[in-house]
Symmetry: C2
């Protein structure tokens, strides 16, 4: 019980894991992949605030569809100083491609949210009474028609 000073600056593997809703295995895996480099106290890992920030970045990167390898490359941008030109150039191209993909993804998400909300409304109505009334069936049809209309372009 002498972890008072560290509670704000340093984290054990399970502290960080539970805070971010991942498992310890995940953190070790990220370390294997070169995404995190916690220091050691004896043989135990100690995560700094910077490690925590990196983890946050990793998880956000994952949520938007980057692979772990891509995320590592992005985070190694600083180290890229000594890298070659071609590498810089391909990185730039991949960034631009990612931006385009992300914008596409964002509009996809807007569409999906709208459809899911329509679906929720429909399910809600269906849950109100067990015997699906004609009216609800009509709503269902309307929902389907709406979805199909969205599908065509």
């Amino acid at each position: 019980m002498e972890r008072l000073k560290s509670s704000l600056l340093e984290y054990s593997i399970s502290q960080l894991a539970t805070e971010f809703g991942v498992t310890a295995r995940t953190l070790r895996f990220y370390e294997d992949k070169g995404l995190l480099r916690p220091t050691r106290s004896g043989q135990s890992r100690i995560y700094s605030a910077a490690d925590r920030a990196r983890l946050r970045l990793i998880l956000r990167g994952k949520r938007v569809g980057f692979t772990l390898d891509e995320i590592r490359e992005m985070m190694d941008l600083e180290t890229l100083d000594s890298g070659g030109f071609i590498h810089l150039n391909t990185t730039l191209k991949r960034f631009r491609a990612r931006i385009i993909a992300l914008k596409q993804q964002r509009s996809d998400i807007d569409l999906s949210i709208a459809e899911l909300e329509a679906g929720c409304a429909w399910l809600d109505a269906r849950l109100v009474d067990r015997e699906p009334s004609e009216e609800i069936k009509q709503n269902a049809k309307a929902f389907e028609a709406l979805a199909l209309a969205r599908l065509e372009s």
Copy 2:
């Protein structure tokens, strides 16, 4: 050469695949998974406009992070008429959870786009002249600081 009438209403597997930038294998895989049900002409698959619409939905679903299983469940909503209540309820819950996740994802994407654009600007500057000038190094530092600032909360 008697595929004239079908060119607008029906598609061969490779037509549909190239149009959507996937492989034929992918379409067969989706069929195995119950996501597509093209009719057959002899043993060859024939995809209708409805199949094409479903494929578009599948790919969009994938882009926003649904698994193929989830996508199939969503598309089976109509068939859900004969399903039980518990299933309806869990489906509803999963929809709502998905909506929340999608909104989170959307803000993640906005952040990522901003960071990637900053990264592009930085890489652009680094590519202008081979010898990284002091000014550019300063920009790099600024970029890093910006990124780090974003990371803290």
